[in-house]
């Protein structure tokens, strides 16, 4: 079924139009997302909620350009992601999306500042400039004094802050976060949510966050619910 005309918002930063995602397991077809329509405007902070298996992470992956829909169209920051080759999509991701993972996913053999510097390696920047930008990002997340520490020397909350610095260091317009507080204690989770709010309000980053946690979702300006692959609405 085509999306309703009211659901298509050409000016949005993220525009998900009639997106379906199905997986095939043996002869069985599993529908993960069923004709999803979604628009996220520039500067919005959207929380995607829903039970396990509802398709939240799959939708987030489609928006971040790390997966492709079975049908439908995903447009982010003016680019039709389905029309991009794998190589072009990788380049697009490096410029437009910062990804925050539930389990931080820092590279264990690199220091905090080297981890933050990683996305900048894809830009034509001199080494000194890269390092300066990475240190600035670490300062913003309050970890300038931990620049030379390895991930194993940091707490969970600190690791996630480094991961957030890595996500925004290349100044992408869109940040996507998959359960960013899912592995943290309450205090650290609050710090991370404060940080995301700061990035949204002060740095005008558009944020799409998947979460189970209603308290985390309350920090977002808009909450959407996914139920069995169908978007239930704000």
């Amino acid at each position: 079924m085509p999306p309703a005309a009211a659901d298509i918002r050409p000016g949005a930063t993220v525009n998900v139009e009639a997106v379906c995602k199905t997986y095939r397991r043996d002869s069985q077809e599993i529908v993960v997302l069923d004709r999803i329509n979604l628009a996220v405007w520039e500067g919005e902070f959207v929380a995607l909620m829903g039970p396990s298996g509802s398709g939240k992470t799959t939708l987030l992956n489609l928006i971040a350009g790390i997966d492709r829909p079975t049908s439908g169209r995903v447009t982010v920051a003016g680019a039709d992601l389905g029309a991009l080759s794998e190589g072009a999509l990788a380049g697009w991701r490096s410029r437009n999306v910062g990804f925050i993972f539930q389990f931080y996913n820092l590279i264990p053999v690199l220091t905090a500042v080297q981890n933050v510097e990683l996305p900048l390696l894809l830009n034509p920047l001199a080494g000194k400039e890269r390092r300066a930008r990475a240190l600035t990002a670490l300062r913003i997340v309050g970890l300038a004094d931990r620049a030379s520490h390895y991930p194993r020397q940091l707490s969970g909350g600190q690791e996630q802050r480094v991961a957030i610095a890595r996500a925004f260091v290349a100044d992408p317009p869109l940040l996507v976060a998959d359960e960013p507080t899912g592995d943290l204690d309450a205090h650290s989770a609050e710090e991370i949510l404060d940080l995301l709010q700061t990035l949204n309000r002060e740095f005008k980053k558009t944020i799409v966050m998947v979460t189970h946690d209603p308290r985390a979702a309350e920090r977002a300006r808009k909450q959407l619910h996914l139920q069995k692959g169908v978007l239930a609405g704000a």
Binding site: A64, I66, D67, P108, V109, L118
Partner: protein
């Protein structure tokens, strides 16, 4: 270059695994380089056209002897300039201490010395040696090691049955020969020569000949002269086998063509094994880092760049192993000539040293092995989808 610190960090991270892989690669390249150096040096000698000296032995083996009467017959062959007996004596100062051994030969000095200008003696030393049937000459290395000088006496016992006479042979050092290593590189200064006549008389004139040394007039006729000599004794009980000195020595240290093939076979087997070990290591490294590769791709690293990073890591390990292997081979080729027994033989045959092309080939092979080992894991990383890589196991 900006990705180099990233590669180095990974290589350093699991240092035990990296070190053992580098070491395995180093051993592989070390074996390759040393074996190839030997094969290269010996085959170079064997192919050398400057064969102006021939060695004749019993066609069956060195363990079998030839009659003394052959000497006069060999001298009649066209192209032969001089003939001298040279018998391996195998004498030791103390049979219980084989480590103190140095090669010693019973020769006919009047003929042998002009045939071997590389052994340099003062005229007085030379004359003293010729005049004294119990006299001997020794190389400078022996003199230094055993603290011997002219006029000193020396007792040797041979472990070889024909030369066991119930008491030691007594010699007097009449000269210490030196070698011009510029003109005759690699010539041993760790040998002793004495009068065959002394040996013959002491054993009741029953001594047969283990080798004849022949100097020929025209090195280009070496093969023809050798054939003529062997033809002379074709119908005799003790048939002969004549070959150039270099070929003889090469054969003596068992580095002839078949052994070169064997050595190359061993080298290839080792390399294949190391390839499997390194490939396994790289596969493990990539498998352990599935999430990390997924993260890199999420950040915008293209599949091609991830492939190059994994291959770069494998090549870095290969190159480190290659360089280490070549350094070890450099030391080994220098140490060969100092090894007991084999060192003296090698010194006489080849001018050892690691040739630059072999060193370069060794490092190139290490890099190629690294590349081959890293290729499959790198392709797996290249092909994997981000969502599969990021799935928590």
């Amino acid at each position: 270059m900006k990705f180099l610190p990233f590669i180095v960090s990974h290589v350093r991270h699991n240092w035990i695994r990296t070190s053992s892989t580098v070491l395995a690669m180093a051993v592989c390249i070390f074996l390759f380089a040393t074996l190839q150096t030997l094969v290269y040096a010996v085959s170079g000698q064997v192919k050398s056209p400057g064969a102006f000296r021939l060695i004749i032995r019993n066609n069956v083996s060195l363990a079998f002897r030839m009659p003394k009467s052959y000497e006069a017959q060999i001298a009649t062959v066209q192209g032969v300039k001089r003939v001298s007996i040279a018998n391996w004596f195998g004498g030791m100062r103390d049979l219980a201490k084989p480590r103190d051994f140095f090669p010693n030969f019973a020769v006919e000095p009047e003929i042998f010395l002009p045939m071997y200008p590389e052994y340099q003696l003062d005229p007085q030393e030379r004359q003293a040696f010729l005049d004294d049937q119990r006299g001997c000459i020794i190389g400078k290395d022996i003199a230094d090691k055993a603290k011997l000088k002219e006029g000193d006496s020396l007792q040797l016992q041979s472990a070889m049955a024909p030369y066991r006479i119930g008491k030691p042979f007594e010699f007097v050092v009449r000269g210490i020969y030196r070698v011009d290593q510029v003109r005759f590189p690699g010539t041993s200064e760790n040998m002793m020569f004495f009068h065959f006549k002394y040996l013959d008389e002491a054993t009741g004139r029953k001594t047969a000949v283990s080798t004849y040394r022949v100097e020929i007039s025209d090195p280009s006729q070496a093969v023809a002269v050798g054939r003529a000599i062997d033809a002379l004794f074709r119908d005799s009980e003790a048939q002969t086998h004549t070959e150039t000195e270099a070929v003889y020595a090469a054969g003596f240290i068992s580095l002839g063509g078949k052994l070169a093939l064997l050595l190359n076979g061993i080298g290839l087997s080792v390399m294949f094994t190391i390839l499997l070990v390194t490939a396994n290591t790289m596969s493990m490294a990539v498998r352990e880092r599935r999430t990390e590769i997924g993260v890199l791709k999420t950040l915008g690293f293209s599949a091609g760049l991830v492939l190059r990073l994994v291959i770069g890591e494998a090549i870095a390990i290969g190159a480190c192993g290659g360089v280490l292997g070549i350094v070890l081979a450099l030391f080994a080729t220098k140490a060969f000539v100092k090894a007991p027994m084999i060192g003296d033989l090698l010194k006489r045959v080849v001018n050892l040293g690691l040739p630059l092309p072999i060193a370069a080939l060794g490092i190139a092979m290490a890099v190629a092995l690294g590349l081959a080992a890293g290729l499959v894991p790198a392709l797996l990383a290249y092909r994997s989808r981000i969502t599969d890589l990021l799935r928590q196991v």
